[in-house]
Symmetry: C2
Subunit: 160 residues, 2 copies
DNA sequence: AGCGAACATCTTGAGCTTGAAATGAAACGC
DNA sequence: GCGTTTCATTTCAAGCTCAAGATGTTCGCT
């Protein structure tokens, strides 16, 4: 780490101000997301879960039973991935599948009492950990940041 | 998709305003990063590269030859991953390794002329694609967003 | 009713990323 | 000088994610 010589000649290329601004923004987004993700993941690993597993449990904890495809849409992951994670969580006894009566294509995921207990126990401390990580920004800054992220994210999903 | 019943009873739990704000922010960050990453990845795949490969080439393209560990630090990925990606790029002839004379632990990665040509050809259009994706935000908003992301990212990396 | 399009889930195979341990090299302290 | 610590890279195994295709279900149209 920290081996970039001072005069190692980074050719500064420019692609127009709009492109340079966008590239700078994208790098900032990717690096920030990676860093915060690491904080989150480290915390979650202490509960014996992966980030993906925790994310699925968390959605069910706060929204109630949901079809697998809805979970996938919320988490922006593929159907195959949700199947994989749901298998794990079902195997661990935190979740159970239930085929929907109205639409038999659909499988609903429900937290078991064990899954609910797990989140009762660990979610508050996880929330506290994330709040601590966010303290680097003022409440005002956090709100501004969240607003811009949502705006960009939504637009990006819309036009493909 | 879009199967959440209207009264499926999402229990609204609160963990204090600071925690709720932080969780909301973290969800927005993760979703936005995922969406933008998808746009970037789709574009890069058309050049026959993965995002990780493109990221390594891009760093070398703009900064000149660098030790593998420096690349890893910039991209926030592990050393093993950089070795893996460098192997691929070396196999494809876009990059070559060169052991440093001053510090023989270090391996410098350099773009080959073929690698340089690849980026000469494709980087500008990739930059344009990312600029287009960023157009959902005004230049002022993009700058504000980048500033906040950098501030949060840096702080998050600092205190672990 | 019947057919084709769209959908939800699952399966499979391939690729990406990580963490931990191994190797070789430099730096530090005494 | 010599041993300890730190560092850069590599290797390896395990796990995560995706894309593409298969299966079973529903919807829309005629």
């Amino acid at each position: 780490m920290k081996r970039a010589g001072p005069s190692t000649g980074g050719r500064r290329r420019s692609y127009g101000t709009a492109a340079d601004r966008a590239l700078n923004l994208w790098v900032a987004l990717a690096r920030c997301a990676s860093s915060v993700s690491r904080v989150s993941a480290r915390d979650i690993h202490r509960y014996g879960l992966t980030q993906a597993q925790f994310a699925v449990l968390e959605v069910l904890y706060h929204k109630g039973p949901l079809p697998l495809c809805t979970i996938g849409a919320k988490l922006l992951v593929t159907s195959g991935n949700i199947t994989y994670v749901a298998d794990q969580l079902e195997g661990s006894g935190f979740l159970r599948r239930e085929r929907s009566a109205e639409d038999r294509r659909v499988v609903l995921a429900k937290l078991t009492s064990q899954g609910e207990a797990l989140l009762d126990k660990h979610f508050p401390s996880h929330a506290a950990r994330m709040a601590e990580a966010a303290r680097a920004l003022s409440p005002r800054e956090q709100e501004a940041l969240a607003r811009l992220l949502k705006k960009w994210g939504k637009a990006t999903r819309k036009d493909q």
